[in-house]
Amino acid sequence: MTSASDVMTFENAVTMGLSRDEWDLINQRLGRTPNLCELGIFSAMWSEHCSYKSSKKWLKTLPIDGPQVIEGPGENAGAVDIGDGLAAIFKIESHNHPSFIEPYQGAATGVGGILRDVFTMGARPVALLNALRFGAAEHEKTRHLVGGVVSGIGGYGNCIGIPTVGGEINFDKSYNGNILVNAMAVGLANSDRIFRSAATGPGNPVIYVGAKTGRDGIHGATMASAEFSDETESKRPTVQVGDPFTGKLLMEACLELMASDTVLSIQDMGAAGLTSSSVEMASKGGLGMEIDLDLVPAREENMSAYELMLSESQERMLMVLKPDATETARAIFNKLDLDFMPIGRVTETGRLILLKDGGTACDIPIGPLVDDAPEYDRPHCDAPIRKQLASSDITNDAPISHMLKTMLGHVDLASRRWIYEQYDSQVMADTIAGPGGDAALVRVHGSKRGLAMSTDCTPRYVEADPKIGGAQAVAEGYRNLSAIGATPLAVTNNLNFGNPEKPEIMTQLVESVLGMGDAARQLDTPVVSGNVSLYNETGGKAIQPCPVIGMVGVIENVDDAVGNCFVAAEQDIFVIGQGDKTNDGWLGVSIYQQHHGDDGIYAPPPLDLVAEQKTGSFVRQQILGGSISAAHDIADGGLVVAIAEMAMRSGFGADIAVPTTGNLHGWAFGEDQARFVVTTADSQELIAAAKEAGIEITKLGMVSDQGELKFGDSDTISITDLNAVFEGCIPALMAG
């Protein structure tokens, strides 16, 4: 069935990223040597990207259950119950490597891909978020990459008509040669109408729909699993071009078809295209599949079986339909000028059989592709022990206002307006709170219920202490949702790390997954979906580890939510939560420390998950009960930065009392966890409630209509001055 020249050798396997053991295993499972197409399929399915071979062991330790969970990891996206018979369906996914090579298209297709994961489940996407990491602001490539990625995200999301409501972005030199572009999509479906990918019913037709297949993105999955080198930049055709207009048509056609009772199973063609979609559908159903590759709609001539199976052309799906539904389905796709082609059928054989040009191009058992995918227990070591930075070792006597003003121009603190104004955050008219708040809030169309969401990670904490850092990402998401009054429900995660074959990198992965698991358990936010991106390195140097958390929660009535701006003069300002008892503030690996040009790695702020849950719940209850009028969690930059943010976005000022003991800059800029700044119109009630709940509450001062921040008696700065620095930073960076 295969010609002699098509019989592969170990050398071929190596070029596809397979090891000696993996090659031997393939030969053993097949009982013969694979041909090119078969080897390509094995290499894609066994790539890090598709098989999770380095991370699987640790992902299994994450909590995935809870009464709210409808669908945990394993499907295209996770699903949680949000009440009213509705499910929120969401996932995050990385498109790091393609975005470095072609920032616009890489980011755009990242968005397109994650949207398909969500609507494949039968959900209408309602919101997009992202998490981005770029190299140092002054690095020669940064400006170009930021510009391209941001317009690519907007280009796809705006055009397909899904609002981009939130995200995060940081800069660090470790990303100079390897940026991170993680995209998250959130959708809504009826809980009893969720679609899954397991193929059913031998004999049922397998249908290809969407755009035609071209030679783009061949072996993207293996590229995403390989370390970056200068050579990668010449691996040209691995980048795909997105077509949001076709994406929109495909989404509408799929949702229309799913509203009828005809789709048995459905799977998008993402990484490794037709290979992973057909193999996963068949394997989940415990069945086989036979596909006639001559029937695959192709954009180019003479595509080989290998190319057809590994192409990552965008905007395509594979489905199994009820046999009598084909013509109704065809009509829907044809109306929208989309390809619709029965290309094969489900079989009982447990094999993947591919026909081409009258012969068999591939005949392999599906079991080994999935079940025998290698799983490694890679060596790791103890996490490094970090010294604590004493606040007095770094602070000086400069007035708070002076420090604040310069810090607001720090690229990791400054206003993100330049970025998020390029995203249509309001399309579909249900965005209650878009970018700029702690969590975004999107109303469930036609109701009062709202979905809250955010993405978070603080890589400098993860680098310093991966276990704390992994947990902190969850805690920060929890805080962000609590700060608007929403109840966190579940998370999705995107684990971005360097080369897992290095023990110190593997340690980061292991420890941060363990920390993440602890936090998700304590905060009752199970992990329902996720993605792993490894080998984020250039020239042997790894990125700062970045396990991103995307959190989703719910609020019964969006009218009850609060924002993070002051709302009225003369309201009292409080800090809720303990912080550092000595009043010295935690400045190790803070923005304050960075701002002083000290790039030492010290112990990150300690994290108390019980305190996180207690303070978060308290703030949420007080918001819903109406006694908090605005809330903001304290994160990067500490207490005074949080206050300044609440002021700058509102136009109000504040009079703040400063402590007379302890370290003043530590108090102002320390990044102690589990804290919120809130305002209230009824201090008595709030204080009483805090006492009763055993929550620390400290009065900071009062909102004023003076347009300035006053710290104590003699230190004052105008909001206009702060805004100029805050708003000016990123536009200046982008203008070059």
């Binding site: 930049e233 055709p237 980048v239 997105g242 076709t246």
Partner: protein, 82 residues
């Protein structure tokens, strides 16, 4: 001197814009239209008198900024070149 840079998508790279235009032309009754590809044409006024040097410099501009050779090809025309 003037230089013209034509930038087109590499063969095999999807051109959604071209596809949409081809469709639309067909719908408007131009049934004879098949494949359509859309590229960019950039006209540069450059303070340089030597055509050979000009071509070299423009090629550099293409590589560093004007085109992304991952998905695009470029070609350079120098109208005054003889």
């Amino acid at each position: 001197m003037q230089a013209i840079v034509n930038i087109s998508l590499k063969e095999g790279v999807l051109d959604p814009q071209g596809r949409a235009i081809s469709h639309s032309l067909n719908d408007l009754g131009f049934n004879e239209v098949g494949d359509v590809r859309v590229g960019k044409q950039i006209l540069l006024e450059i303070d340089e008198t030597d055509p050979a040097r000009l071509r070299q410099r423009v090629a550099r501009m293409c590589e560093t900024l004007l085109s992304n050779t991952v998905i695009e090809d470029y070609s350079i025309e120098i109208p005054d070149e003889q």
